[in-house]
Symmetry: C2
Subunit: 146 residues, 2 copies
Amino acid sequence: MQELIDLDREECEALLRAGVAGRIAIATPTGPHIIPVNYSVVDDAIVVRTSPYSLLGSYGRDTTLAFEVDQFDYDEQRGWSVVARGRGDFVTDIDELDHIREVWAPQPWVGGSRTLYLRLRWTELSGRRVGAGWDALSRMPARRSL
Amino acid sequence: MQELIDLDREECEALLRAGVAGRIAIATPTGPHIIPVNYSVVDDAIVVRTSPYSLLGSYGRDTTLAFEVDQFDYDEQRGWSVVARGRGDFVTDIDELDHIREVWAPQPWVGGSRTLYLRLRWTELSGRRVGAGWDALSRMPARRSL
């Protein structure tokens, strides 16, 4: 059995900014959903590309969203997770879209028309790790790189 | 760019039943949350152990929950995910608790008092994979074993 340790804000941000794929929880008329996404972080917001006809495109605007990224180490039975929460909106302003593409455009693994840029500006950031004595960031499975 | 392929029900169940850790999305008065959990599958339900004072303990009863398990392959830019949705309830019946412990008791990696058994009996099961020509189940990072 391991300890559960809160991550400080700096650690949360570092892990969040280094990630490539996570999941968004969204409220819909039939209850909560979870959707795996490729994402990028631009300034203090998570940005994902989606379709206007998806769950995120249908219900992701002007509502609170939760985004999660984690890493489980099954052999060692440890891991970490970071959750960012805040209001979702769609980016339509040309200058803002240019800024996103300049900083780090989200790069979906999946093809198809993903014309909608959903942004989650976080107002709440929290993270936890299971187990002491190891460095979460150095154990990222994939690091964002330019 | 890869294809997005729907998994059939049998594949969803196989992946769900083989997993060890996933995430629950839950509605709370301040919007959706995502909580990483260790889980087990007993009959047609996901079972997790939690504390009565946690988010799941506070808001997980008699409400729709979404559970997700996934695996991302960052090198190949592919992966799969399965989402199970259904009503959450707390298991308090002694015979039902015995049955859960016999079949496969959830084994949290984290210590502490987790006396509450939250059950999600799924009524909706869906899954997707990114990319064709590989076997999701054989690429599970950890398999449940007796």
